[in-house]
Amino acid sequence: MEALTTITTTHYLILSAILFSLGVLGVLMRRSAIIAFLSIELMLNAVNLSFVALARDLVSLDGQVVVFFVMTVAAAEVAVGLALIVAFYRSLGTTDIDEAHELYG
C-alpha cells in the first residue's frame, strides 16, 4: 500500500515506459503520417520525462540540460517533418504512408 502513497522515481520511470510503448504502437499502427509523427513526439516526451525523473533522483542538473537539448532537436525535427508531410501530401494527394511503396524489390 505504501507504493500507492509515496511516489518514487520508479513510478515516473514506469509511466514514461508506458508512454514510450504507446508511442511505438502509434508509429507502427497508424497509417496517417501526422499521427505517426505525433507518436514520435510522444515517445520523445516520454524519454524527457524519464530524464527529468532521474535528474531529480540523482540530484544533478545534467538530466535537465539533456531534456533542453532534446526539446530543441524535437522542434527542429517537427519543422522539417511537417514540411515533408506537406510535400508528401502535395505530391501524393494523401497522407497515407502506405501509398508510397514504389521503392521495392
Binding site: 511505438v24 507502427l28 497515407d96 502506405d98 501509398e99 508510397a100 511503396h101 521495392y104 524489390g105
Partner: protein
C-alpha cells in the same frame, strides 16, 4: 670393336634421319637401298664383334660402353650405355642378320608402293629401337626400345592406312602392347625401389639381399609385359590382326625380332627369375612354363583351320613363342634362346615365302582380270580391300603352285620341315632340346602337352603346304601365277639354307654345341636343374619328336595331299562345332571386346556426356543459380511499405536484446536477472523469437490490389 658398339644402333638411326630429311632428293628405290645397306653394315659389324668376343674366350663376362648420363633426379640415376655380352650380341646378330635379308626382300616386295620411303624409314626406326632394347645395359633403356618397337609395329601394321581395318589393327597392337608396357613400367619402379639402381650389373650383383617374394613380384610384372610383347595367352590378340601390315613386316617384326623381346627380357633377368617365388611354392618360372605351353597348344588349335595363309603363320608364331617360354619356364634358357634363333630364320622364311606366293597370285590375278601384264599400280589397294574382293591371301584360291613357283615352293617346303621339326632340320634340334629338358626337369605333363602341340604344328604346317602348292590351281589367278623376281627369291634361299643347316652347325653335339658354348659363360649355373623321376634318354626323346613330326606330316598328306581339292568350294572345310570354334579364334576377340572395350566406351560416354556436364558442372552452375535466386528472394523482402520496416526494427530490437542477454558476462547477467523475475525474461526471449518468425513469414506481399490510384482517385 666392342667400344664402337654404339655404331651398330647408330646406323639404322642414321638411315631414318637421312631418309626423313633428305629423302626428297633420293628416289624411292635409292632410299630403300640406302636403308638396306646401313642395316647390312650393322650386321657385318656385329659379326666382327662376335668373332672378336669369341677370340676373348670363355671368361669374357660382358662389357659396358657408357655414352652419357641420361637421367638423374635425386638419388635416381640412369646412364645411356650399352652392354656387350654374348646374349646381346646374339640377339643383335639375329636382328641385323634377319633384318638385312628382310630389308633386301622388301626392296622387291614394295617396289611398286608409292610410300616406299616411309616404309623403309619405319623399318630402320624399328631396327634401331630393337637394337636399343637388346643392347641397353639397364631396364630403362630396354624400356625405351620396348615402347619404340611398339610404336614401329603400330606404324608398320597400319602402313596402308587408307583402309581403316589396317589402322584399327595398328591401334589395337599399340594399345595391347601398352597394357604390357604398363606392367613392365611397374616392374621397373619396383626394381628401382628395391635395388636402388636399374643397371643389370648392380641388380644381379645384389640378388641375395632381396627377398624371393619381391623378386617374384618383379618377375611377374615383367612376365605380364612379355605376354603383351611376345603375344602370350592373355595379350596375344593383337598378333593375328597384325597381319594387316606388309608381309616383310610380319616376317621381321611379328616373327623374328619384336615378339622375341619378351623371351630376351626374361632370359636377361634370369638371375632374378631363378630365385623368384610367386606364392609359397609356385615359382614365377612355373607360371611362365604353364602359360607358355598352354599358349602353344591353344594357338596350334586355332591354326588348324585358318584359311588365310598369313594367319596360319601368325598363330604358329604364337605357338612357337609358347615353346620358348616353356623353355624359359623350365630353366632351359639356352634351349629357349636356341629355339628363338632358329625360329627367327625358318619363320621369316615362311612369311617371306607366303609373301612371294601372294605376290605371284596378284600378278596372276592381274593377268586375267585386265588382260594385260600386271602394271605397277598402287600396292595398297592390291593386297587388301580389292575392288573385286579377290582375296590374294586365301589359300582356298591357291593350289598347284609347285610348278608355277618352284623356288618359292622348295624354300617354303624347307621352312615347313623346320617348323614341323622334321629330323635334322634346325627346328627339330631346338624344339626337341626344349622338350627333352622339360622332361628331364620333371615337368612330365608339360612334356606331353608339348608333344601333342608338336604333332599339331606338323599337321597345320603341311596342311598349309599341300593346300598352297599341291594338286591343281583352283582359280584362274593361281593358274597364271609366276615366280617372284630374284631379289625376293635370293633371301628365301639364304634363309632356307639357315633353316636346314643351323641345327646341324650350331646344335650338334647336343647341349654342348657351338651355340651352347657361346652362351655358357653368361648363363652358367643358372636355370636347369635335374628334376627327380624318370629321365628319358636323349636318343629316346629325339625319336619321339621325329615320330610325332613325321606322323603329323603324313596325316596332313592323307587329308590334303593325296586328293587335293579341285574347286574352292571343295577346299572350304565343312566342320562341326570344334571347327567353328577354332576357325573363329574361340571368339576371344569378341569376349575381350565385350568385357573390356565396350564397358570402357560406355564409361567414357557416361562420364563425358552425363557426369561431367550435369554433376560437376551442374554443381558449379548450381551455386551460381543459387546465389541469383537467393538475391531475388531477399529483394522481395523490401516490400516498399515503410511501416513494415518499422515493425522489422522493433522485432530486431528484441533479437539483439536476446543475443546480448546471452553473451553478456555472467555477473552482469545476474544483475539484470534480479531486475525482473527470470520468468519474465524467458517470456521476453520466447516472444522475441516469435516476433522474428512472424515478421519474416507474414511480411506483406507486394500484391496491393484495388488500392485506389492515389493521384487520380480512380481505381
Amino acid at each position: 670393336m666392342i667400344d664402337l658398339i654404339w655404331l651398330i644402333p647408330l646406323l639404322p638411326l642414321l638411315g631414318v634421319v637421312i631418309n626423313t630429311f633428305f629423302g626428297r632428293f633420293l628416289s624411292g628405290k635409292a632410299s630403300a637401298w640406302l636403308a638396306t645397306l646401313l642395316v647390312g653394315i650393322a650386321a657385318a659389324l656385329t659379326l666382327v664383334t662376335i668373332f672378336q668376343v669369341r677370340g676373348l674366350g670363355e671368361e669374357f663376362g660382358g662389357e659396358t660402353v657408357t655414352l652419357y648420363r641420361w637421367m638423374t633426379a635425386g638419388d635416381f640415376s640412369v646412364t645411356l650405355s650399352f652392354l656387350v655380352d654374348q646374349l646381346s650380341l646374339l640377339m643383335t646378330m639375329v636382328i641385323t642378320g634377319v633384318g638385312f635379308l628382310i630389308h633386301m626382300y622388301s626392296i622387291g616386295y614394295m617396289a611398286h608402293d608409292p610410300g616406299i620411303r616411309r616404309y623403309f624409314i619405319y623399318l630402320n626406326l624399328f631396327v634401331f629401337a630393337m637394337l636399343m632394347l637388346v643392347l641397353g645395359d639397364n631396364y630403362l633403356l630396354m624400356f625405351l626400345g620396348w615402347e619404340g618397337v611398339g610404336l614401329c609395329s603400330y606404324l608398320l601394321i597400319s602402313f596402308w592406312f587408307s583402309d581403316t581395318v589396317n589402322a584399327d589393327a595398328g591401334k589395337k597392337a599399340f594399345i595391347v602392347n601398352r597394357i604390357g608396357d604398363f606392367a613392365v613400367l611397374l616392374g621397373i619402379f619396383l626394381t628401382w625401389t628395391t635395388f636402388g639402381s636399374l643397371a643389370y650389373a648392380d641388380i644381379f650383383g645384389s640378388i641375395e639381399a632381396v627377398s624371393a617374394g619381391v623378386l617374384g613380384l618383379i618377375t611377374f610384372l615383367f612376365f605380364v609385359g612379355c605376354t603383351g610383347k611376345s603375344a602370350q595367352i592373355p595379350l596375344y590378340v593383337w598378333l593375328p590382326d597384325a597381319m594387316a601390315g606388309p608381309t616383310p613386316v610380319s616376317a621381321l617384326i611379328h616373327a623374328a625380332t619384336m615378339v622375341t623381346a619378351g623371351v630376351y627380357l626374361l632370359v636377361r633377368s634370369a638371375p632374378m627369375l631363378d630365385e623368384a617365388i610367386l606364392i609359397s611354392n609356385f615359382l614365377t618360372r612355373d607360371l611362365v612354363a604353364w602359360i607358355g605351353v598352354l599358349t602353344a597348344l591353344f594357338a596350334a588349335t586355332i591354326a588348324l583351320t585358318q584359311t588365310d595363309i598369313k594367319r596360319v603363320l601368325a598363330y604358329s608364331t604364337v605357338s612357337q613363342l609358347g615353346y620358348m617360354f616353356l623353355g624359359v619356364g623350365t630353366g632351359a634358357y639356352i634351349a629357349a634362346i636356341f629355339h628363338l634363333f632358329t625360329h627367327a630364320f625358318f619363320k621369316a622364311l615362311l612369311f617371306l615365302g607366303s609373301g612371294s606366293v601372294m605376290h605371284g597370285m596378284e600378278h596372276g590375278h592381274h593377268a586375267i582380270s585386265h588382260g594385260q601384264p600386271a602394271e605397277a599400280d598402287d600396292h595398297a589397294t592390291d593386297e587388301h580391300g580389292h575392288a573385286d574382293s579377290f582375296d590374294v591371301q586365301d589359300m582356298r584360291n591357291m593350289g598347284g603352285l609347285w610348278q608355277k613357283m618352284p623356288a618359292t615352293a622348295w624354300t617354303f617346303l624347307i621352312g615347313g620341315l623346320a617348323l614341323a621339326g622334321f629330323p635334322l632340320t634346325s627346328g627339330f634340334f631346338s624344339k626337341d632340346e626344349i622338350l627333352t629338358l622339360t622332361q628331364h626337369g620333371g615337368y612330365n605333363l608339360l612334356y606331353v602337352i608339348g608333344i601333342v602341340t608338336a604333332f599339331m604344328t606338323a599337321f597345320y604346317t603341311f596342311r598349309q603346304f599341300f593346300m598352297v602348292f599341291w594338286g591343281k590351281p583352283r582359280t584362274e589367278a593361281a593358274a597364271h601365277a609366276h615366280e617372284s623376281p630374284s631379289v625376293m627369291t635370293v633371301p628365301l634361299m639364304i634363309l632356307a639354307a639357315f633353316a636346314l643347316l643351323a641345327g646341324l652347325i650350331f646344335g650338334l653335339p647336343l647341349e654342348d654345341g657351338v651355340f651352347h658354348h657361346w652362351l655358357e659363360p653368361l648363363l652358367y649355373g643358372l636355370g636347369h636343374h635335374e628334376g627327380e623321376g624318370y629321365h628319358l634318354p636323349i636318343m629316346a626323346s629325339l625319336a619321339i619328336s621325329s615320330i610325332v613330326a613325321i606322323a603329323g606330316i603324313a596325316l596332313a598328306y592323307l587329308r590334303y595331299g593325296r586328293r587335293p581339292a579341285e574347286t574352292v568350294g571343295e577346299a572350304t572345310a565343312k566342320g562341326g562345332l570344334l571347327h567353328a570354334l577354332s576357325y573363329n579364334k574361340w571368339y576371344v576377340d569378341e569376349i575381350y571386346h565385350a568385357l573390356i572395350v565396350r564397358p570402357y566406351e560406355l564409361l567414357a560416354a557416361f562420364s563425358a556426356r552425363f557426369f561431367d556436364r550435369f554433376v560437376i558442372d551442374g554443381a558449379v552452375n548450381g551455386v551460381a543459380k543459387l546465389l541469383s535466386v537467393g538475391g531475388g528472394g531477399l529483394g522481395r523482402l523490401q516490400s516498399g511499405f515503410v511501416r513494415s520496416y518499422a515493425l522489422g526494427i522493433v522485432s530486431g530490437l528484441f533479437i539483439i536484446g536476446f543475443v546480448m542477454f546471452l553473451t553478456i558476462p555472467n555477473e552482469l547477467r545476474n544483475y539484470f536477472s534480479q531486475l525482473g523475475t527470470p520468468a519474465i525474461l524467458t517470456f521476453v526471449v520466447g516472444l522475441g523469437l516469435l516476433a522474428l518468425i512472424l515478421w519474416t513469414t507474414l511480411r506483406p506481399r507486394k500484391t496491393v490490389e484495388a488500392a485506389a490510384d492515389p493521384i487520380t482517385h480512380t481505381s
